[in-house]
């Protein structure tokens, strides 16, 4: 008997099952399927809709426009510093919905499991999703599980879709930027992408870098309450800040000018980027947002972000301008200006 039991683990113990790994029969709809759902999945996602075990979830939503988003998560490795694929699956979709200003209500979840995937790993991911959903204040109300033969997918793929209701008076859009608007980020950049990179085979670099995966709906709520004039919100995931800002500039047909020295990056993340020759502006984030606020509300927006635990390192990093529409420029520390381009494909380490 372990004299120092791990109480966190005991709160989420692996149920007794007939197998250690996913079998094809787990997806076939019979006894093993039922066992997987009832013993492993349902206990983690208790919600009144799920408990009814109907084919669909029926929701009573308050009046208002509905925001609806979907995303599929295929990250490898599935476990990384700061989180796992389950965290990403919940937080990622919560964030996508929340960026419309909506109050996020409910998620669906679809699993594709590879035959042979350890059930202990699946359980661990389910526990992460349970905790993430609880922190975000959202319910998982419907779902599906499929099993494919060995090689049919890479361990586990997760799709989540989410809905929320947008309160009246809020109409955020990437097409609404105006010259003079301020660009803000809620915290340090490139943490998630470099945390993943540090676990990739063949790269032999380590760092105390954790993924920043987090649900931002609370932060968004605080920001919009303090600063109702916010024009647009987006979470800079794949392709990083550079992609998001280029999308804003193109959608609104405006230019953007960033200040290099204002952009927050942790020293160890910068070190990792320097080793591999990667631009932090092109690296994915999973717990940060970019906000565009009218110039005269910039300080209020910044204060609202910084007052929230997930926005402590928020900064104003640039302005919207009329010149060079569609292009994102950056004033370097030396005073010159260069373009911040959309990255081409995956960020690869280089020796050149």
């Amino acid at each position: 008997m372990n004299p120092n039991p791990d109480f966190d683990r005991m709160a989420c113990p692996l149920p007794l099952l007939d197998h250690d790994t996913v079998q094809l029969a787990h997806g076939a709809g019979g006894r093993l399927s039922a066992q997987l759902i009832e013993k492993l999945i349902l206990p983690r996602f208790t919600s009144r809709e799920l408990d009814r075990l109907e084919d669909q979830a029926v929701l009573d939503l308050p009046p208002g426009r509905i925001a609806f988003s979907t995303d599929t998560f295929v990250v490898d490795p599935i476990f990384f510093p700061g989180g796992d694929i389950g965290d990403l699956a919940v937080n990622g979709t919560v964030n996508d919905v929340a960026m419309s200003g909506a109050e996020v209500t409910a998620l669906s979840v679809g699993f594709v499991l590879e035959e042979g995937f350890p059930l202990a790993d699946f359980h661990r991911i389910l526990c992460s999703m349970e905790a993430a959903a609880k922190t975000a204040g959202v319910r998982i109300v419907t779902g599906d599980t499929k099993v494919v033969g060995r090689g049919g997918c890479d361990k586990i793929f997760i799709n989540t879709s989410g809905i929320g209701v947008i309160p009246g008076g809020i109409a955020l859009s990437a097409a609404s930027l105006q010259p003079g608007d301020a660009i803000l980020v809620s915290g340090t950049l490139a943490d998630h992408g470099m945390a993943i990179m540090s676990r990739r085979e063949g790269l032999s670099f380590t760092a105390d870098i954790s993924s920043d995966t987090a649900a931002l709906n609370g932060l968004v709520g605080d920001l919009l309450a303090a600063c109702p004039g916010v024009r647009a919100l987006r979470d800079p995931t794949r392709g990083g800040l550079a992609t998001t800002l280029n999308e804003f500039a193109a959608a609104s047909r405006v230019g953007i000018l960033l200040e290099e020295e204002a952009i927050p990056v942790r020293p160890e993340v910068l070190g990792a980027c320097e080793i591999l020759g990667i631009d932090p502006l092109s690296v994915a984030n999973e717990g940060k947002l970019v906000a565009v606020a009218p110039g005269d509300q910039a300080d209020a927006a910044l204060a609202a972000l910084q007052a929230h635990p997930l926005g402590r390192d928020a900064r104003i990093i640039g302005r919207v301008r009329a010149e060079h529409p569609g292009l994102v420029g950056m004033r370097t520390a030396l005073g010159s200006e260069r373009i911040v381009d959309m990255p081409v494909g995956e960020q690869l380490p280089r020796i050149c």
């Binding site: 063949g202 032999s204 320097e274 020759g277 420029g329 030396l334 690869l348 050149c352």
Partner: protein, 364 residues
């Protein structure tokens, strides 16, 4: 970051720019050899900040850009073989051959893996005795010592399943070729600091004397590059030729003799074709005959390769500093990083890719 951030200090950079502006009295054309220096210049916008009298042209210091198409096609053919684990630095993964690239080979089932160091490829060979591990050894003199050590290590361990495809190029013959060209307009060079860390500075002295040019080994941070440009301009203004080291914290005149010794054990000098430029005699390194067992081009019989380059691509002229990327009609039009026509757009170190990323025409 220690010994890095200090050399990005804006106030030091500004004072160097000021000194350059005070020193220069007439137009000068200076070439920076190394793709990493091109990248740094564009990333920090140094070309915008220099006085207009100074024209920076970008040299052929991009080993990815100058790797011949035949070598890439051969690598792709080897990578597609079922028994091969093909390993490469990240830079080469996207480089297209005549009709394919390593990513596409991977998507069709080829075992293609990125490594950070050639020793990781040796480790894969050690751990996978049933597979042939092939490493794409591309680079200048900076990368050659590591690639040489990988072969030396594989030989010491008696590994029969490790080999390299080498595309190593040497800087001094390229410099000589540029300076000897009748169309040459380069008057001074920033030599590649990390190449010099290995090779030392002595090789450049005869070139500087023969062609009466300043050659200044330079680092990669803004302060390093500006300091080197200042040194070069001072020498140009006073008509001085020779080699003056502006990267003293890393470059020693003797270079790194231990690294050169292993390079000599494993490689020998050969003629090498530079993509876009042509064959430059004595400008490459190949694996010595006695180590042929580690030479993938000898151990894998790959049939005759016929290559086809785009007729619109002028990367050869760009690599020699005779044209700038935005002077190419295809730049930004039919040739972009997503659809590169040739070497200098495909590599992130290529001049065309750097221009496209940092300074699209019409913005600065």
């Amino acid at each position: 970051m220690k010994y890095l951030s200090e050399f990005r200090d804006p106030s030091l950079a500004r004072s160097l720019l000021e000194q350059i502006a005070r020193t220069v009295t007439r137009p000068w054309t200076i070439m920076e050899i190394c793709g990493g220096q091109t990248h740094a210049i564009m990333r920090h916008g140094l070309d915008q900040l220099l006085p207009p009298e100074i024209t920076l042209v970008h040299g052929p210091g991009c080993p990815v850009c100058v790797t011949p198409l035949e070598t890439i096609d051969r690598a792709l053919a080897i990578a597609a073989r079922p028994e091969v684990i093909f390993t490469s630095f990240g830079d080469m993964l996207r480089v297209p051959g005549s009709s394919d690239d390593l990513f596409r080979v991977k998507s069709r089932g080829g075992d293609v893996r990125m490594v950070y160091s050639p020793l990781e490829a040796v480790k894969l060979a050690r751990e996978n005795p049933a597979h042939q591990v092939v490493f794409l050894a591309v680079g200048f003199e900076t990368t050659a010592p590591g690639n040489a050590m990988a072969i030396k290590q594989a030989a010491a361990e008696g590994l029969a399943n490790f080999s390299e495809i080498t595309s190593h190029v040497l800087v001094p013959p390229a410099m000589e070729a540029i300076l000897s060209s009748p169309q040459n307009r380069v008057q001074g060079f920033l030599a590649a600091g990390h190449v010099c860390a290995v090779m030392g500075t002595g090789q450049y002295v005869p070139i500087a004397e023969k062609h009466r040019v300043p050659i200044v080994p330079a680092g990669f941070e803004p302060v390093d590059i500006l300091q080197a440009i200042l040194q070069t301009v001072r020498m140009l203004e006073s008509g001085e030729a020779g080699v003056v080291n502006a990267y003293g914290r890393v470059v020693r005149d003797a270079g790194n003799p231990a690294a050169r010794a292993v390079m000599d054990e494993v490689f020998t000098v050969c003629d090498r074709k530079w993509r876009g430029i042509g064959t430059i005699p004595g400008s490459g390194l190949r694996i010595r005959d006695e180590l042929a067992a580690f030479d993938a081009e000898k151990t894998f019989p790959v049939g005759d390769i016929t290559t086809s380059e785009s007729p619109d691509c002028i990367s050869g002229l760009i690599l020699q500093g005779l044209r700038k990327p935005h002077e190419c009609p295809a730049f930004g039009a039919s040739c972009t990083p997503l659809h590169p026509l040739g070497a200098t757009m495909v590599s992130s170190e290529g001049a065309c890719a750097a221009y496209f990323k940092y300074a699209r025409r019409g913005t600065s």
